[in-house]
């Protein structure tokens, strides 16, 4: 006789309503008595219901992994396994998805088949760091599950004090605002750090994220230590005929209220002939006007990326946004992409050598100062790195003349803003 479904009066209340219910999904798995995971999911539901009753969590960590790797499996052992023995071990395997999280149904179905064989049948698409999360695997099944997923083309993602799985926006695959090949950059960089991902030995976690423009659809600036944003250095592309179509359709007031006045640097003006005047020197590449007039405005042709370092959430010293350390790096050919990789290598190396244990790179830069960090990674200062120059006088300036000479030399060489 199959194990009985647990009573779940509280969870049952999450089955009603118009939004798809995760509880109904858990129950479907638990009721699949022809599948190996049904008993596990029954106990999982039982334990989750207990959490809803007591408002307490019942999972603890431990050590579970696959051969050769020191990360990628999140161990979960139940603290109330005596009551719910079939979900006593409920580990997660983090898998790295294809960039942009595109799937052929054949790939997803194969993954489901493997996961039905070895795991719970429960998958989060996707975790906050960007992984496919196969949730609910016994210790015994972790290795064979990974082996089959690995043969299918998946690798384990990051965890702990290592390089983490990355996210890129949909980007070049389906967006006219994309300023570089996000997936190419992500694969090039992350796949270069697989040792640091699979055998974590950094001071603390390190996340890369890739957004094609300042809209930041991959949530890079606050969620990644190394945020790559697409941008352009020449003039934005304007199709004046298309601008006039917008004006004709929506009226001058609408254009003025929603485009001209919303420009944060007052770089736009609507001409008397209903064409758009752009002061490109003042333009911040913020994307607002391009978002509104998608048919008329596009990024310029000289495209590349800016790199911001140090984004993170509260722990330990408080929230941080990434800040600019590379205002512009042209990304057109393979050589350009290698320069981005080289920058990533220098920065991760500096992080390994200089961060304290459990210190994120943003906190490290905060501790040592941006200038020392830049010197450490071999990048010259640039006014695009600051909101404004210093406001206090507590600084020794006895190297002033030498620094001025350096600035002039760089300026003469036309290299002030690039590597």
């Amino acid at each position: 006789m199959s194990k009985a479904m647990p009573e779940t009066p509280l969870l049952d209340q999450l089955e009603s309503g118009p939004w798809p219910s995760f509880v109904s999904g858990l129950k479907r798995l638990a009721a699949s008595d022809d599948k190996p995971y049904a008993p596990m999911m029954k106990d999982l539901l039982g334990q989750l219901e207990r959490s809803y009753q007591t408002r307490k969590g019942y999972w603890k960590g431990g050590t579970v992994g696959v051969i050769g790797y020191g990360a990628g499996v999140i161990p979960r052992f139940s603290e109330i396994a005596d009551e719910f023995p079939d979900s006593a071990e409920f580990h997660t395997l983090r898998l790295i998805p294809p960039p942009g999280t595109h799937y052929s149904t054949a790939l997803l179905r194969s993954l489901c088949d493997i996961w039905e064989k070895y795991g719970s049948g429960l998958i989060a698409l996707h975790g906050q760091t960007g992984d496919i999360m196969l949730q609910g695997c016994s210790s015994e099944n972790v290795q064979p599950c990974f082996d089959e997923a690995n043969e299918l083309g998946f690798d384990l993602g990051g965890a702990g004090a290592g390089v983490r799985t990355s996210i890129s926006c949909v980007g070049a695959a389906r967006c006219e605002q994309s300023c570089y090949d996000e997936a190419k950059a992500m694969r090039l960089i992350v796949n270069n750090f697989l040792d640091e991902m699979h055998r974590p030995s950094l001071p603390y976690k390190f996340k890369f994220k890739f957004s094609g423009c300042a809209n930041d659809c991959s949530n890079a600036i606050q969620r990644s230590d190394f945020a790559v944003f697409g941008t352009w250095r020449d003039d934005m592309q304007v199709d004046q005929d298309a601008v006039r179509v917008y004006v004709a359709k929506h009226g001058r007031k609408w254009i003025i209220d929603n485009v001209i006045r919303r420009c944060p640097s007052e770089a736009l003006s609507l001409n008397d002939d209903d064409s758009l005047e752009v002061d490109n020197k003042s333009c911040l590449r913020c994307m607002h006007c391009l978002n509104v007039m998608t048919k008329a405005l596009k990024p310029g042709r000289e495209r590349g990326v800016s790199v911001l370092i140090g984004g993170k959430r509260t722990l330990k010293t408080g929230d941080m946004m990434g800040t600019v350390v590379m205002p512009f790096l042209r990304l057109e050919n393979d050589e350009d992409y290698d320069k981005l990789l080289d920058l990533a290598k220098r920065i991760v190396e500096f992080f390994i050598d200089n961060a304290l244990e459990h210190e994120r790179i943003g906190e490290m830069v905060d501790r040592i100062g941006l200038v020392d960090f830049l010197e450490g990674i071999g990048i010259e200062v640039d006014p695009n790195m600051i909101s404004h120059p210093r406001t206090n006088s507590y600084i020794r300036t006895d190297g002033w003349d030498e620094e001025v000479a350096k600035w002039k030399a760089r300026k003469d060489a036309g290299l002030a803003a690039a590597v």
């Binding site: 989750l48 969590g57 998958i123 300042a214 930041d216 330990k316």
Partner: protein, 356 residues
């Protein structure tokens, strides 16, 4: 000895085989896009080819039956390809406008709401909670399900001033990240320490160094090596709990929920911003957390009725000011809203600009 298979360290897989053929053909060569209706994006390539993407909300915690259902829909309507957004929405690409309505009908028929584009409230990004995390004080999945039920109309319609991104987190580490509205756990009491376990389970120096306020120090308690907390210094953040589970921070009654507004990742118009505390002390009240939904709906209503087109939550509050925000939302303003952390002076009003 059992044969040990060596892992193929393949890292990030190639996406090209998994791109819809239309996207593959026009990779990097897109010209413009528009949104014919909520939940549908229409992209036109330089080649003249067009693609319609239909976005559907999911529960994120997906059982294989639901994933296969999504695959069935992709096979039937979208040439066997789909993708997911960072907020767990599924997207299906089709090559003609005629195919959009039948696809939407299939999705709706299977219980997936279509929406989440443009100036709508999109799916809430959320964390693992009681289902799988080892340190949660609440269950994000349940909070999210309850909220998205209430926000169904706002997901399926584009009626907000601009996009609204909501996040939830089950502890103060805040894996959910920054949001226009964030619903996060906020502990209100210092950890309760099991001194019998600390010496055995915790690397004490690491725990001491983890504390942001230096409130933890090594101590001998009942003859055993343990840790003690200076409760006057403790800010109840729970940072000590992950490295030292005997320092129980979670409490059914004292772990509350707090609501924050005005987080923004994009550099569009205004610079990115962190979310700010607006309400705390909400009970952790499963299975539907009605007190949370009530305040979120209050904030969203005020935003919807008062913000101008394109203003994100932070930009709207920036224009009208915090006094007016607290008036409109009828939320109390307390001493806990005033920051006292390292850079707190930057959050004070250092001007003679006042609002009445």
């Amino acid at each position: 000895m059992v044969h040990q298979r060596r892992a193929i360290e393949s890292g990030v897989p190639d996406h090209l085989p998994h791109l819809h053929p239309l996207l593959r053909r026009n990779y990097g060569k897109w010209k413009w896009h528009d949104r014919p209706r909520p939940g549908v994006l229409h992209h036109v390539a330089e080649s003249g080819e067009e693609v319609w993407s239909v976005r559907a909300g999911t529960q994120r915690q997906l059982d294989v039956y639901t994933i296969r259902k999504l695959c069935d829909i992709a096979d039937e309507h979208a040439d066997g390809f789909l993708r997911f957004t960072t907020r767990s929405n599924a997207e299906f690409m089709v090559d003609s406008a005629d195919k959009v309505a039948p696809l939407i009908a299939s999705l709706n028929g299977a219980g997936f709401p279509v929406g989440g584009t443009g100036n709508s409230v999109t799916m809430i990004s959320h964390t693992q909670g009681w289902l799988h995390c080892d340190i949660p004080a609440t269950d994000a999945s349940g909070v999210v399900k309850s909220l998205m039920d209430a926000l169904h109309h706002e997901f399926t319609h584009e009626e907000m001033p601009n996009q609204v991104k909501i996040t939830t987190s089950c502890c103060q580490i805040n894996c959910g990240g920054q949001g226009d509205i964030a619903i996060n756990v906020q502990h209100t009491k210092p950890p309760v320490i099991n001194h019998d376990q600390v010496g055995k389970m915790c690397e004490r120096p690491a725990v001491v160094s983890r504390c942001p306020t230096a409130a933890i120090r090594p101590a001998m308690v009942n003859g055993k090596p343990s840790l003690e907390v200076d409760e006057k210094k403790c800010v109840c953040c729970g940072a000590c709990f992950p490295p030292c589970p005997p320092m129980k921070i979670n409490d059914p009654d004292y772990s509350k929920l707090a609501i924050w507004v005005g987080g923004k990742h994009s550099s569009t118009r205004s610079k990115p911003t962190f979310h700010k505390l607006v309400a705390a002390g909400l009970p952790n009240n499963p299975p539907r957390w009605p007190e949370v939904t009530e305040i979120v709906m209050k904030i969203l209503t005020a935003y919807k009725e008062n913000a101008r087109p394109w203003e994100r939550m932070s930009e709207w509050v920036g224009r009208i000011g915090w006094p007016h925000f607290f008036e409109l939302t009828e939320l109390p303003f307390t001493k806990y809203h005033v920051d006292n952390w390292r850079t707190s002076r930057d959050s004070l009003n250092a001007s003679a600009q006042l609002r009445f």
